[in-house]
Symmetry: C2
Subunit: 234 residues, 2 copies
Amino acid sequence: MSLWQSISDQLRGEIARGKWPPGTRLPPEAELAARFGVNRHTVRHATRVLADEGLLYSRRGAGVFVAATPVDYPLSERVRFHRNIELSGKVPGRTIDAIMTRPAGDAEAEALGLEPGQPVHVAEGVSLVDFKPVALFRSIYPAALVPDLPAALRQHDSVTQALRACGVADYQRLVTRISARTADAVQAGKLQLEPGDPLLRTEGLSQWQGQMVERALTWWAAERVTLTLPHQLS
Amino acid sequence: MSLWQSISDQLRGEIARGKWPPGTRLPPEAELAARFGVNRHTVRHATRVLADEGLLYSRRGAGVFVAATPVDYPLSERVRFHRNIELSGKVPGRTIDAIMTRPAGDAEAEALGLEPGQPVHVAEGVSLVDFKPVALFRSIYPAALVPDLPAALRQHDSVTQALRACGVADYQRLVTRISARTADAVQAGKLQLEPGDPLLRTEGLSQWQGQMVERALTWWAAERVTLTLPHQLS
């Protein structure tokens, strides 16, 4: 086994045993090089491998940090934030920053199969896991299909429950599109991150009885959530 | 329709018509505010909405840029880079930076169901679409299962073909885990990005006849590729 591999295995073990808790900054390269009796190039190789695995991440100019173990979030045709989080043994939560009704913009109308200018309900807020923010959301609904959704969203803990109260009992995700962005100052503030930290961005389109019922944009704090995709074997 | 919405629709139209090609920096807020006869807050609201949709992105300290239209890359149980890209009407390609055989590290061994230290083949390189880099990959294979893979990888254009040459004809993706990172200087250099630009990171585990055959780590340039997930409706 090569030198860098034995160093990366050793650091991995120390992280697993809690010597370096999530959020901790790793000692500088020079210090680690002295500790292991190797040069900085070898240390860098070892920490790069751990970064590749997701155990470490670097913040520009600030050093190398230990990543938190992210929550696994399964993407399926029945995406239900509350149930998904509960199944992982954690406490789901949500704060709503704004609920409004306004004319659909061009992109929104196209996604939902509406004419531009037709009314949509928009809900914006923060999704929580164990009382910590994990994602920002902006979800958009055709107002004509679910006229009473704003009131229902204020009454119910989850979107699923609110939609059910409006008669939409069994909606299904048609497609999810996944990208990455870096957090701007506003997003970082709401998610308790630093500006420039990576976000997973998902756009989900759902339908109910052949009609588009939801366009959900979500920005996930990448250090706190991993999206998982269990494939169906044929 | 509100003022910011009419501005964002107008800018969206200009981007669609090619007035602002991908990679262009949008004029500063003050200039756009003067053009539309509104205050900077309204301009910022309009450009934030376009950023949320993925049409614009900001680079810290450098301004707001027009995003390229990313290639859609479908994630399925049969993930085949070459075929996926060909189906989108583009030219797939690949450069291999390194092929090596070495003992598996702890994380690699766990993912592939090996003992730490058992030999693995490792292939590292860059995936191309229309001759432009879109992703970095590091793919790992149990050497005992496909002893001749290194030679096959050098001979064939795609991993699928190389594995088939080694007798592995029909492997299947078991799970894909999706996260986001920011590019470090090395990754940015290879992908022709700026350090700090967002990357999608995927880890895919594949099996063949009940044995783990591949652990594929991929770092996608988020501005060039969107991962898509067409759900199966039940």
